[in-house]
C-alpha cells in the first residue's frame, strides 16, 4: 500500500500512456416484459492509469449501468455487447471465477448508499478484512490489523474501536469512508465510485470527496467518478464525459467541458448549477423530462428539450464528432453553438 504522493501526470502525459480501461461500443440492454430497454448505447471511452474520469448525467442516463456492466454485476436479464479491455484482458469474455479475482482487487467499486451497502450483521472491520482475505493469503489477525490501518487512513476516528462496531453505529459519512477503505484495501488499479456522495448530507459530501480524492492520489489508482453533480466534478476530475439517455453526449478534458462546452446538453447542465458567488441571476433547470428508453424519440434524444434544436436534429442520431484532441461532442449543430457565458470559475 503506497503512502507517498505520486506526482500527477499532465493531461498529455495521460494520453501518452496506454489506456488502463478501454471500452468500445458498449451496449447494455435489459429484457423486460415491455420490450428491450437500451440503457447504454454505443458508449466508448478510455481511462488511463492514475486518471480520474468523471461520468456525468441525470438519472436514467445509463452512467451507473455502464459501471455495473464493467464489473459484470448486472442483473440477470441483461444483454451486453461490445468490447471492454482492462489491462490487456477482455473483461466481457472472462468466466465468473476469473471475474471474481478481478473484482475487489484490480477493479473496486464504491456504491451510492452506504447505509444499505454494508451488511448490518457483521462488524465493519470484519467486512473490510474479508475483502483483504479474499485476494490475499493472510491470517485473520493480519487482515484485521490491515483493516484498522485502512480505517485510520480514511479518517475514521478511533479506528481500533470502530472496527469492532456494526454499520448502524456509524454515521453516513463514516460509513462511506469505510466503504472507501474497503475498496482500496487491495490497491486496485481502477476505482469506480458510483455517486459516492449523493446519499449524504451536504456538509458531509465535501469531506468524503476529499477523502476519495486523497486516497486516489495516494494510491495512484485510476478512478471513474459517476455523478449527476457537476459541482463535484470540478474539483476532482481530469476528464469528463457527459451521458444522456444511454449515449455519450460530450467528452473532453475538464477545461474543455467547463469552459468550451460544445454540446447543448452540457451547456444546459452547466447553466443549472447554483453559483454561490452570485454570478448567475437565476437558476435555469432543464425543461421537460428524460425520454423513455423503451420508446426514444427519433433523431437526437435531447431534441425535445434542446434550446437550439433544428430540423436536422429529428432525423438521425448525431455522431460523436471530435472537436480537438480528446474533446468530442454528439450534436448536429456544433457549429451553431453560442459562446459560453457565465461559467463558474
Amino acid at each position: 500500500m503506497t503512502d507517498t504522493l505520486a506526482p500527477k501526470p499532465s493531461d498529455d502525459a495521460f494520453a501518452a500512456t496506454a489506456p488502463l480501461l478501454k471500452a468500445d461500443n458498449l451496449c447494455v440492454g435489459f429484457r423486460t416484459d415491455a420490450g428491450t430497454v437500451n440503457a447504454v448505447s454505443d458508449v466508448s471511452f478510455e481511462i488511463h492509469p492514475g486518471e480520474v474520469l468523471a461520468v456525468v448525467g441525470e438519472s436514467g442516463s445509463g452512467k451507473s449501468v455502464t459501471a455495473l456492466a464493467l464489473m459484470r454485476l448486472h442483473p440477470r436479464n441483461t444483454d451486453i455487447t461490445g468490447d471492454v479491455m482492462f489491462d490487456g484482458i477482455d473483461l466481457l469474455s472472462l468466466t465468473d471465477a476469473q471475474m471474481r479475482s478481478i473484482r475487489g482487487r484490480d477493479i473496486a467499486m464504491i456504491f451510492q448508499d452506504p447505509m444499505t451497502a454494508l451488511n448490518p450483521v457483521f462488524t465493519v472491520g470484519e467486512q473490510i478484512a474479508e475483502a483483504i482475505r479474499i485476494h490475499n493469503d493472510v491470517t485473520k489477525p493480519q487482515a484485521w490489523e490491515r483493516s484498522v490501518d485502512l480505517l485510520q487512513l480514511v479518517g475514521v476516528p478511533e479506528p481500533k474501536r470502530r472496527a469492532a462496531q456494526h454499520p448502524h453505529e456509524y454515521s453516513g459519512g463514516m460509513r462511506q469512508r469505510a466503504m472507501i477503505a474497503m475498496a482500496i484495501s487491495n490497491d486496485p488499479k481502477l476505482l469506480i465510485a458510483d455517486e459516492p456522495t449523493t446519499a449524504l448530507d451536504v456538509t458531509v459530501q465535501a469531506q468524503v470527496m476529499e477523502v476519495l480524492h486523497d486516497v486516489q492520489e495516494a494510491t495512484g489508482s485510476a478512478m471513474m467518478l459517476i455523478t449527476h453533480d457537476l459541482g463535484l466534478v470540478a474539483g476532482s476530475a481530469d476528464r469528463v464525459q457527459v451521458m444522456y439517455a444511454s449515449r455519450l453526449m460530450e467528452t473532453g478534458d475538464l477545461d474543455d467541458i467547463f469552459y468550451e462546452s460544445s454540446n447543448p446538453y452540457t451547456r444546459a447542465l452547466l447553466e443549472s448549477i447554483p453559483d454561490l458567488q452570485g454570478v448567475k441571476e437565476s437558476l435555469e433547470p432543464i425543461p421537460g423530462n428524460p425520454p423513455s428508453l423503451l420508446n426514444p424519440p427519433s433523431g437526437c434524444a435531447f431534441r425535445p428539450r434542446c434550446f437550439m434544436a433544428g430540423e436536422e436534429c429529428a432525423g438521425s442520431v448525431p455522431e460523436l464528432i471530435t472537436i480537438e484532441g480528446h474533446h468530442a461532442s454528439r450534436c448536429h449543430r456544433i457549429s451553431a453553438m453560442p459562446a459560453p457565458v457565465g461559467v463558474p470559475s
Partner: protein, 318 residues
C-alpha cells in the same frame, strides 16, 4: 439480557393469566360435569354434591377461576375424571409422547425448509423452484387431518409390507427399543413436518429473495466473494432473522396441529387426551392442557424475542 427476559416475562404473564381466565370461564360455560347426574336425582344426590364440591360449582362462575389459579400455583392441577390420574402426571406422561413427535417434526421441518428456501431463492424461476413452490402450495392446502389420513393410508395400508400397520389401539409399543420408536413416530412426524415445511419454505424463500436483493449483497459480490459464500455467509445470516422467529412461533402451532394428528395415528399424546377430556367434561384435564400449551407458547415467544435480539445487532435488548 437477564433484565430483558425478566421484563418480558412480567409483561406476558398477565396476558397468559388473562387468557387462561377467559378460557376457564368459557370451559365452565360449555361443560357441566354434573350433566349425567341430573337424570338420576335425587338418587345420586351424594355423587352430585361431591362433584359440586370438587369443581366448586356453587361458586360464582366469574370467581371460580381464581380458585383454580390458587390450586395451580400451589402445584395442584386436580385429577382427571376421564383418565383417572392426577392431571400433572398425565401432562408429563402424555406431554412427553407429544414431544417425541413434536420436536423431531420441528427440527426436520426447520432444516428442510431452510435448504429449500436457499435453493429456491438462488434458482428463482427455475424448474426446480417452480416444482418446490408447487409442492409447498399443495402442502399448505392440506388440512392436517387429510394429510394424516392420506399418509396413514398410503404408508400404513398400501405399503403394509414396509412398515406394518401402525399401532392403532395400543399406542406406542411397550418395548423401549429405539428402532421400534423410530418406526412408530415416522408417520406422525412426517405428517406434521410436511405442513410446516410448506409454510416455512415459502416464507423463507421470500425472506431469502428479499435479502439477496439488498445492496450489501451486491457489495459482497463486488469484493470478489464466491457466490456460495455470498449466499451462505452474507445472505443467510440476514434472512435467518425473521425465519427463526417464525420457527419459534410455529412451535405453538405445532401443538395445535398435533391434536388432530395424534388422534388419527392413535398416538398417546396430549391430543387424544384433550379431546377425550372435552367429551367427558373433564374440566381439570382440559384446563391443564390449556395451561401447558399457553405456557409453552409464552416461553417460545420469549425465545423468539431473545433470538431476534441476539441475531440482529441493530436491536438492543434493554
Amino acid at each position: 439480557m437477564f433484565a430483558y427476559v425478566t421484563r418480558r416475562l412480567l409483561a406476558t404473564i398477565p396476558l397468559l393469566v388473562l387468557a387462561l381466565y377467559l378460557v376457564f370461564v368459557g370451559v365452565s360455560l360449555t361443560t357441566d360435569p354434573r350433566a349425567d347426574f341430573y337424570l338420576c336425582l335425587p338418587r345420586c344426590q351424594e355423587g352430585f354434591d361431591r362433584i359440586t364440591e370438587v369443581y366448586n360449582l356453587d361458586v360464582n362462575i366469574w370467581l371460580r377461576p381464581f380458585i383454580w389459579f390458587g390450586d395451580v400455583l400451589s402445584g395442584d392441577l386436580g385429577d382427571s375424571s376421564s383418565i383417572g390420574e392426577p392431571v400433572s402426571e398425565i401432562l408429563v406422561e402424555r406431554g412427553w409422547n407429544t414431544a417425541l413427535i413434536a420436536i423431531p417434526a420441528f427440527l426436520i421441518s426447520a432444516i428442510f425448509a431452510l435448504l429449500l428456501s436457499v435453493y429456491s431463492a438462488r434458482n428463482q424461476y427455475s424448474k426446480g423452484d417452480y416444482f418446490f413452490t408447487g409442492l409447498a402450495f399443495i402442502g399448505l392446502a392440506f388440512p392436517s387431518f387429510v394429510l394424516a389420513l392420506v399418509i396413514q393410508n398410503v404408508f400404513g395400508v398400501q405399503l403394509e409390507n414396509w412398515f406394518g400397520v401402525k399401532p392403532f389401539n395400543t399406542g406406542r409399543k411397550t418395548n423401549e427399543n429405539f428402532l421400534e420408536l423410530i418406526r412408530d413416530i415416522t408417520l406422525p412426524v412426517m405428517s406434521l413436518s410436511i405442513l410446516f415445511i410448506s409454510a416455512d419454505s415459502r416464507f423463507g424463500r421470500a425472506s431469502m429473495l428479499d435479502t439477496l436483493n439488498q445492496d450489501y449483497i451486491r457489495t459482497a459480490r463486488a469484493k470478489g466473494l464466491p457466490e456460495n459464500k455470498v449466499v451462505w455467509k452474507h445472505a443467510l445470516r440476514n434472512a435467518l432473522i425473521p425465519l427463526v422467529t417464525l420457527w419459534a412461533l410455529n412451535f405453538s402451532a405445532l401443538l395445535g396441529g398435533s391434536v388432530v394428528t395424534e388422534s388419527i395415528f392413535s398416538w398417546p399424546g396430549l391430543g387424544p387426551a384433550f379431546l377425550r377430556g372435552l367429551g367427558d367434561a373433564d374440566l381439570d384435564l382440559v384446563l391443564g392442557i390449556v395451561l401447558l400449551t399457553g405456557v409453552i407458547t409464552v416461553v417460545f415467544n420469549l425465545i423468539a424475542d431473545v433470538l431476534y435480539g441476539v441475531l440482529d445487532p441493530r436491536i438492543r435488548l434493554d
